[in-house]
Structures are given as structure tokens and as C-alpha cells.
């Protein structure tokens, strides 16, 4: 697949889009919370993935991780420039958590909100914060440690616990 993408094969784009667009859009929309703008960012994300694919190094990490970084950075850039435009104050961690929760609550009925709610309701508040910061905001472990005033080792453990819980809930949701 990576070879096909490097060859700029149309099938490879189709594969990438079909398999990752929803996951990336979920991340982008969580950061931006504006569907129209999020779609714009998703478009930019795929353009950047496609045009900068040469800079992806398999030795450095997973393809999804690389794409996630691009999507997240573009989404954050987009909100930042938007915030700068309206001269709004820089968002704080609590804002993020609030926003994250807010998005989840305001999900429309057209997609699987029941399953999602099951998962989210099963997550503890501190796990929600960790997932928000690590996954949606892309804060490094050190940044999270400072934000949440936790030792670096604890951050790593909490990240693992949060994801384990997520996995567990996701499995449960599938069974249900």
C-alpha cells in the first residue's frame, strides 16, 4: 500500500480515504467543532498526506500515527488562526475538556451515539482528559504531565489505562 501511495496510485488514495477518513474526521471535528470547517481541514489533511508522502518514514512510526499528526496539527492550526481572528483568549485544558464533552453531548442522531455514549459513560473523568489531551490535542507526555500536574511515569500509565478502558468498553459495546 505504501508503495502504491508513493507511486501516486489512485487506488491507494481510495484505500486511505475509505479506511481512515472517518477516524481522522472524528479527531478533526473534535478539535474544531464546526463540520464545514472540519471538512475543509480533512480535505487539506489528505492533500498534505498525498503531497508529502515522501516525508513519511516507516522506521519512525505507524502510518496512522503519521496521518493523525497531520490531521491534528492542521485542525489545531485552523482553530488557532480562527481564535486569533476573533482575538479570543487561548483555550485552556479545562476549555478543551469542556469542548470535548460538549461535542460528544451534541452529537446528532444520524450516527452511533448510543454506542459512543456507552463508551464515554464508562470512562472516568481523568481518563477522558487524558484521551482528549493525548489523542485530540496531541499534547506530548511532558505537556500532559505539566497540565495535569502528574509525574511523567503516571502520565504514561494513565494513557495506557485510559486506552485499555476504551478497548474494553469498545469490545463490550460490540458484544452488546
Amino acid at each position: 500500500m505504501i508503495i502504491l501511495i508513493r507511486e501516486k496510485n489512485q487506488k491507494a488514495f481510495s484505500y486511505l480515504y475509505d479506511n481512515y477518513s472517518k477516524a481522522l474526521f472524528g479527531v478533526i471535528n473534535s478539535v474544531i467543532n464546526d463540520i464545514e470547517e472540519a471538512e475543509d481541514v480533512l480535505q487539506k489533511t489528505f492533500l498534505k498526506i498525498w503531497n508529502n508522502f515522501d516525508s513519511y518514514d516507516t522506521a519512525k512510526g505507524r502510518l496512522y500515527t503519521w496521518m493523525l499528526n497531520i490531521a491534528r496539527n492542521l485542525a489545531i492550526d485552523s482553530t488557532r488562526s480562527k481564535h486569533e481572528k476573533i482575538k479570543s483568549k487561548i483555550h485552556s485544558t479545562s476549555d478543551n475538556v469542556y469542548k470535548f464533552e460538549n461535542i460528544l453531548r451534541t452529537e446528532d442522531n444520524t450516527h452511533d451515539t448510543i454506542g459512543l455514549n456507552t463508551i464515554l459513560n464508562g470512562l472516568k473523568e481523568d481518563h477522558k482528559s487524558i484521551i482528549d489531551l493525548a489523542y485530540f490535542e496531541g499534547y506530548t507526555q511532558e505537556e500532559i504531565s505539566k497540565k495535569l500536574n502528574l509525574p511523567l511515569g503516571t502520565v504514561k500509565t494513565k494513557v495506557r489505562q485510559a486506552l485499555l478502558k476504551l478497548r474494553e468498553l469498545a469490545k463490550k459495546e460490540i458484544i452488546n
Partner: protein
């Protein structure tokens, strides 16, 4: 660090989330090469994340994929068949350019050929006209010469006739030339004699008219008459002084020293 320790450390989660440090990322990459268990765990974490955020995703506009697709540069084709068609089209395109070129040059060639044929046709027509004109010209030049000569002789005749010293003598026909008349103009001062044979019939082919002047009763040769001369109606004859009469006989070609009396056909007194 064994596999279990790595898995339980939370490093793999950070790695997939893209928040691990450079050193941690490098370590995990190295460990993954030797340990399929770690790779499996990483894939599982990734799946969880993808599934989770996909559930968070609102529906995406169905046109977006196509919209993005139009902005990307696809180099490799989907299938070899598509490639073949593409190359074929290109070749056909090139071929049609060649065909067009050949057709254009052929058209140009035919046009020039037709033009040349037309031009040649015109040229030969012009040449023919020119030849006709030249012919006409030389005919007219000849005609002019004739007219000029005729005019000159008429001038001479007029000069002779208008000269008061010139006497006109009529010769009356007799024997074979009964009812015919010929005229002689003679300058009484210079004794120049001019014979006008315009009214006489042509002599037989082997015979010739000869003019005789009668001086003191004796015939003197006054010259042969040329019936075929076109130069002038008036023929200058030998000068004779003291002639009382003139006579014309029909003699053999070249004339005779003495007139043949029985062939005398014209006679007139001065």
C-alpha cells in the same frame, strides 16, 4: 525490558498516539522488528483509536472524496488496461497529427499542381496568341511593303503622267489582240519610254511581248515586256528618239532581233 514490561508501560499507547519522545519511538521501532507480540499489541491499540474516533465522526459529505481526488496528482494508473488505452490514445493523437500534416501537405501539393497546370495552360494560350500576333505583324509588314512599293510606283506614274513633256500614245489591238488597247508614255525631251501593259492578257508561257519603235520606216527593238512584274504598271523601255510609231509583236522568250510581222498584235502612231 521484556515484551510484557513494554506492553504494560504505556509506551505503546503513547507511540500510537504520536506523543512518545523520539528516543521511545526509536526504541519501540527496534523492538517491533524482533517481536511480533509487540506489533500485535500496537495494531490492537491503533484499531481501538481508529474505531473510537470513527464513532466520534459526524457523517462526511459524500462529495468530499471526489472533491479531494480532483486535487491530487495521480501518476500511476489503476490498471494496465487503462495504461494501454492512455498510450493508445496518445499514439492515435500523434498519428492524427501526422495524418493531418500529410493531408495538409497533399492538399497544398494538389493545389500547387492545379495552379501550375492552369498557369501552363494560360502560358500556352498566351504563346499561341503571341505567335498569331507575330504572324499578323509580319503579314502587315509585308502588306505595308507592298503598299509602299505600290505607292511609290503610283507616285512615279503620277509624276510621269503629270509631266507636260510626256506624250501618251495609244496602241490599238489587231489580229489576236483585237479590241485591246495599250498605252505608251514618252518624254519628248529625254526620249524615255514607259509601257503600260495592264490591259493586255498574259502571253503564252514560252512567248513574250516585244516592243518595237518605228524610226524612219524601220523597226528598232525597244525592249521586252515583263507581264509578271509587280513593281509597277508602267515599265520603262529603251529610250528611242525620232520614233514615228510603236508596234508590239509576240516573240519567243528573250526576244528577236527582227520583228515577226505575222504575230504583230498592237500598233499606234506617235
Amino acid at each position: 525490558m521484556n515484551s510484557k514490561e513494554v506492553i504494560s508501560s504505556g509506551l505503546l499507547e503513547s507511540y500510537v498516539l504520536g506523543i512518545s519522545t523520539k528516543e521511545e519511538t526509536a526504541l519501540i521501532n527496534t523492538l517491533c522488528k524482533e517481536n511480533s507480540e509487540l506489533l500485535k499489541e500496537i495494531e490492537s491499540i491503533e484499531e481501538t483509536l481508529i474505531d473510537f474516533s470513527s464513532k466520534l465522526s459526524p457523517p462526511i459529505n459524500t462529495d468530499l472524496k471526489e472533491k479531494i481526488s480532483t486535487q491530487l496528482n495521480f501518476i500511476a494508473e489503476d490498471s494496465p488496461i487503462a495504461k494501454v488505452i492512455s498510450i493508445k490514445n496518445e499514439t492515435e493523437g500523434r498519428l492524427s497529427i501526422y495524418k493531418l500534416g500529410i493531408a495538409a501537405s497533399l492538399l497544398l501539393f494538389l493545389t500547387s499542381l492545379m495552379y501550375n497546370v492552369q498557369l501552363n495552360h494560360k502560358l500556352s494560350k498566351v504563346n499561341l496568341e503571341l505567335a498569331q500576333l507575330n504572324e499578323t505583324k509580319s503579314y502587315l509588314a509585308d502588306e505595308l511593303k507592298i503598299q509602299q512599293a505600290s505607292l511609290k510606283s503610283m507616285d512615279t506614274e503620277l509624276e510621269i503622267l503629270s509631266n507636260p513633256k510626256v506624250k501618251t500614245i495609244a496602241l490599238n489591238g489587231m489580229n489576236s489582240l483585237d479590241k485591246k488597247t495599250a498605252m505608251i508614255h514618252m518624254n519628248m525631251e529625254t526620249h524615255d519610254v514607259y509601257f503600260n501593259a495592264s490591259s493586255l492578257p498574259n502571253s503564252p508561257t514560252d512567248k513574250q511581248y516585244q516592243l518595237w519603235a518605228i524610226v524612219d520606216g524601220k523597226p528598232i527593238d525597244a525592249g521586252m515586256i515583263d507581264m509578271h512584274s509587280t513593281a509597277s504598271v508602267f515599265q520603262k523601255m529603251k529610250s528611242v528618239s525620232g520614233a514615228q510609231a510603236f508596234a508590239v509583236t509576240i516573240e519567243n522568250m528573250g526576244g528577236s532581233p527582227v520583228p515577226t510581222m505575222k504575230t504583230m498584235c498592237l500598233l499606234g502612231n506617235v
